[in-house]
């Protein structure tokens, strides 16, 4: 079926099997392999992208359902020459090792900081109405949908804390 995806500010027209997930549309059909497939069942977070500004698992989203939505992938957040503040902090804090979960971690962290700014509580929040501090416990809980087997966790939390100091988390190509 014909599907139009709005991706990182560009529009792509695709002819896809309805079974195609947003993740496979990116990886198999658009050659945008920055978004990773780690489990294909919403159990690892490697495929995290932003849809309408919110973090989601691209593996559990049909491409046809993503039609009309604004999608941002890791490629839309920055480039090697122009890293987003979070990307820079991940680099400086060694917030990754093998790098496979990393795009998902960074997309997730980008949206997670916005969720915190919007005043969303988490399982780790003592009080549902805040205040929500950028504590290790808060960030770790909010990032727990992104597994990292190399276990750069401690460094990822530090990177996010550092990046949160900057106001704009995106170097948005959109």
């Amino acid at each position: 079926m014909q599907i139009t995806l709005h991706l990182n500010g560009a529009t792509h027209d695709l002819d896809l099997d309805p079974r195609t997930t947003l993740l496979d549309a990116l990886r198999h059909h658009l050659g945008m392999t920055g978004t990773k497939k780690g489990c294909d069942h919403g159990q690892c977070g490697a495929c995290t992208v932003l849809m309408g500004g919110r973090r989601i698992n691209a593996c559990l989203t049909l491409a046809c359902m993503a039609q009309d939505a604004q999608i941002t992938t890791i490629e839309g957040l920055g480039s090697p020459e122009r890293l987003s503040p979070l990307q820079q902090q991940f680099l400086d804090h060694d917030g990754f090792q093998c790098g496979y979960c990393t795009p998902g971690q960074i997309c997730s962290a980008t949206a997670m900081l916005e969720e915190m700014e919007a005043g969303w509580p988490s399982h780790a929040s003592e009080n549902l109405d805040g205040p929500f501090e950028l504590s290790h416990a808060e960030i770790a809980e909010r990032m727990s949908g992104n597994l990292c087997r190399c276990a750069a966790y401690a460094n990822i939390v530090a990177a996010i804390q550092q990046a949160a100091g900057t106001t704009d988390h995106r170097e948005d190509a959109a």
């Binding site: 198999h28 480039s79 090697p80 991940f90 060694d94 990754f96 090792q97 795009p103 597994l147």
Partner: protein, 724 residues
């Protein structure tokens, strides 16, 4: 020119400490980091050759037997059945392909065919629904249900442990169980194969390209020179990508048959079925000591399992013979031949579960003897390797214990069950860390051009270990160049064959080969400078010797290149080589629900020279977190009726999440090990896991008095030991 070195003797000259560039060991950011944080680094399944089609593996749905007939696959281009397809993965460093012939089924989930289609969706559906007729055999799947083998070479004894146990002031005799565990690297195994005539290029997720090439050539029945493997980025390995596996072999076969590039990526469930598991273990430990806590007897009896046709057996007691002193000692290593998925190396094979359990036993003995656990270990450190009397290449356990106790605040530890905060009981635990060290033959080529650019080439891999960065730093240090002027190219069998990444030997082995290649280049520069290489100083593109200083560009005509070739030698046998450390943990145990939260964790490690403080620390973080997983969350369950893996996805197999891991603290002890090559560096990728789980488990006991001997310590196990 190639510079060879066989490590037959010590390197006491710390010349790398006196180089001028001052870059080695520095906490530089990863060289490939910008590509990884932007999604630009392309992993195995991420090339897009024109005309590529998709393959999905078909798996056996019976535990053992024979495939009689495989039906059609509507919507598919082909169903590939080929006797060259492999039944399970090669073991690390195998020189031949693994057992082939997929028609013979050895375990439930074994790959038996490949379905190829124009789209991934069509291939997956066809593979899921293909009809297969089997002749089913009945086979044992439970390790306790068979009479185990006792391989003669794996048993050892000295003195009489029974007697030591009878005569000791204090004894311990307990049995532990650890479940099957999985590497669970984030990147599922994947390959893209493409033929050009009789030449095949396979882009795959592999840790050890030089042996993988031999395995693959053997499996496919082709010449090695007709095969190129590419693994520039590997999304984690932890042992699971040491040897070639079904996806890469079948991709190559299918690509040849169809005349088109074929991609095969395992599903996550297939990774659980087809990648090596760490064998479950049963470990009986007997310890005997005198009233002062001096060990007189050590017994370590191990039961592990594997398929009847696989040689690998988890070397659980590998560190037991040399960690602590005792006159009477015995290691029993039993292997149950059963039909669960193939067992193989998972990060720190042996010590990951062996040291963890042994260090729990030491904690129990300390309690029984009324001696502080740190002190008990300090009293039992041998001067030379027990049983062989070989010297240690270096030995930092005592220092790691003392320094760790000081840094962690061990003296604040309360007696068992004495620290309570609300519902939570708090406790501290510790353990020794030990892992065998080894070198593996490795080659690298370094080329220096007139404009001061150095290129390092080797088929070494970077599986997240930091190889790109440390090899770049080494070359920059040796050649006196800013890091920006060094390029490191890895993961391509067109480059000189390296050790590969495994067994913690990658950094030291490949690092030494780069060192040697650079030494060769330095020799050529020294010749041009008319000085001894030892008198040559290279810094920021300048060469200096005595009063003479010249630009490198003036000394090089075009480019110069050198190869380094490292081989392990006599020091492998003359000295017991190991890395040492200590683990420390503070946990909170919920007194109602038995949930455990690690609140604080610290490791002190000695691994010889640290090549990059930042990436080295990250290696330790990873290992310690694996330790948390072993202690608290990870268990791969098998069905007792057919042996199939029941926990076969990342929702059922619980690797630690962000929330399970507190801020971790890592300290390195300064060390130069003279017996491991001129780099004086040892392995670090696995030390962090060895014993880490024991620190957590021992802390649980200190918190609430419960000893968990069936790992992991999930709430059910804790609650079973808690009072109402």
């Amino acid at each position: 020119m190639t510079r060879h070195l066989r490590v037959d003797g010590p390197t006491h000259d710390d010349r790398l400490d006196h180089m001028a560039q001052g870059i080695l060991g520095q906490p530089l950011n990863r060289l490939e980091g910008p590509l990884k944080v932007t999604g630009w680094a392309a992993y195995a399944a991420e090339a897009r050759p024109a005309n590529m089609v998709y393959g999905v593996l078909v798996q056996a749905t019976v535990p053992a037997g024979k495939v009689l007939e495989i039906g059609d696959a509507p919507g598919a281009l082909a169903v590939i059945q080929d006797k060259r397809m492999v039944r399970y993965a090669a073991q690390g460093m195998d020189q031949k392909g693994p057992t082939s012939g997929p028609d013979q089924i050895e375990y439930m989930g074994q790959a038996i065919a490949l379905v190829v289609a124009e789209s991934f969706e069509a291939a997956r559906h066809a593979a899921q629904n293909i009809a297969v007729r089997y002749k089913v055999s009945s086979v044992p799947v439970e390790p306790e249900a068979v009479t185990p083998e006792l391989p003669p070479k794996k048993q050892s004894a000295a003195g009489d442990v029974d007697k030591a146990m009878r005569e000791a002031a204090v004894t311990l005799d307990q049995v532990w169980h650890t479940p099957s565990q999985m590497s669970a690297a984030m990147e599922p195994h994947a390959a893209i194969a493409e033929w050009d005539g009789d030449q095949v290029t396979i882009r795959a997720a592999l840790q050890m390209l030089s042996s993988n090439r031999k395995q693959m050539a053997d499996a496919l029945g082709i010449k090695e020179q007709n095969l190129r493997l590419l693994s520039p980025y590997v999304g984690g390995g932890f042992g699971s990508k040491l040897g070639i596996n079904a996806e890469a072999v079948s991709a190559a076969i299918a690509a040849k048959e169809l005349g088109r590039p074929v991609m095969v990526a395992m599903t996550r469930q297939q990774v659980f079925d087809l990648a090596h598991r760490r064998s479950e273990t049963r470990q009986r430990i007997r310890l005997a000591c005198d009233a002062d806590g001096r060990l007189t007897g050590i017994g370590h009896e191990v039961l592990v399992s594997n398929l009847p046709s696989s040689e690998f057996t988890e070397p659980v007691a590998q560190a037991t013979p040399f960690t602590y002193q005792a006159a009477h000692r015995q290691v029993v290593h039993a292997v149950a031949r059963i039909h669960r998925g193939c067992a193989g190396s998972v990060r720190a094979p042996g010590e990951a579960v062996g040291v963890t359990v042994f260090e729990c036993a030491m904690d129990e003995l300390a309690e029984a003897a009324g001696i502080d656990p740190v002190e008990l270990r300090l009293r039992n450190i041998p001067d030379v390797e027990p049983t062989t009397d070989r010297p240690f290449s270096s030995h930092k356990l005592a220092e790691a214990l003392r320094e760790g106790a000081r840094l962690f605040g061990w003296s604040n530890r309360k007696p068992t069950g004495q620290q309570v905060e609300g519902e939570w009981m708090i406790g501290m635990g510790m353990a020794a860390a030990v892992r065998v060290n080894m070198l593996v033959e490795s080659r690298a080529r370094v080329t220096l051009t007139q404009d001061g650019q150095a290129v390092v080439e080797t088929d070494m891999t970077d599986i997240g270990t930091g190889t790109y960065t440390i090899l770049g730093q080494l070359a920059a240090e040796m050649l006196g160049l800013p890091i920006e002027q060094v390029e490191v190219r890895l993961g391509d069998t067109n480059f000189p064959p390296a050790s590969g990444s495994g067994g913690s030997f990658g950094a030291a082995s490949s690092g030494n080969s780069v060192y040697l290649a650079c030494e060769e280049i330095r020799g050529q520069i020294a010749k041009a400078m008319d000085c001894d290489e030892a008198d040559l100083t290279l810094q920021d593109g300048m060469a200096r010797a005595g009063n003479v200083a010249r630009l490198l560009s003036d000394l090089i005509d075009g480019q110069i290149s050198g190869e380094g070739h490292l081989q392990p030698g006599k020091t492998e046998k003359s000295h017991r080589q190991a890395t040492w450390g200590s683990h420390w943990a503070e946990v909170a145990v919920n007194r109602w629900t038995g949930e455990v939260r690690v609140r604080r964790m610290m490791g002190v490690f000695a691994c010889g020279r640290v090549l990059n403080e930042k990436t080295a620390r990250s290696q330790c973080l990873g290992g310690m977190t694996f330790g948390i997983g072993i202690a608290l969350t990870e268990a791969m369950e098998h069905d007792s009726r057919d042996g199939h893996a029941v926990s076969r996805d990342l929702a059922e197999y619980h690797i630690p999440t962000h929330a399970d891991v507190p801020p971790l603290e890592v300290h390195f002890l300064p060390e130069r090990d003279a017996y491991v090559g001129p780099l004086q560096a040892k392995g670090l990728g696995e030390l962090g896991i060895c014993g880490a789980g024991a620190a957590v488990l021992n802390a649980i006991h200190n918190a609430c008095g419960v000893r968990v001997r069936h790992l992991p310590a999930t709430p059910d196990k804790i609650v079973a030991g808690l009072k109402d």
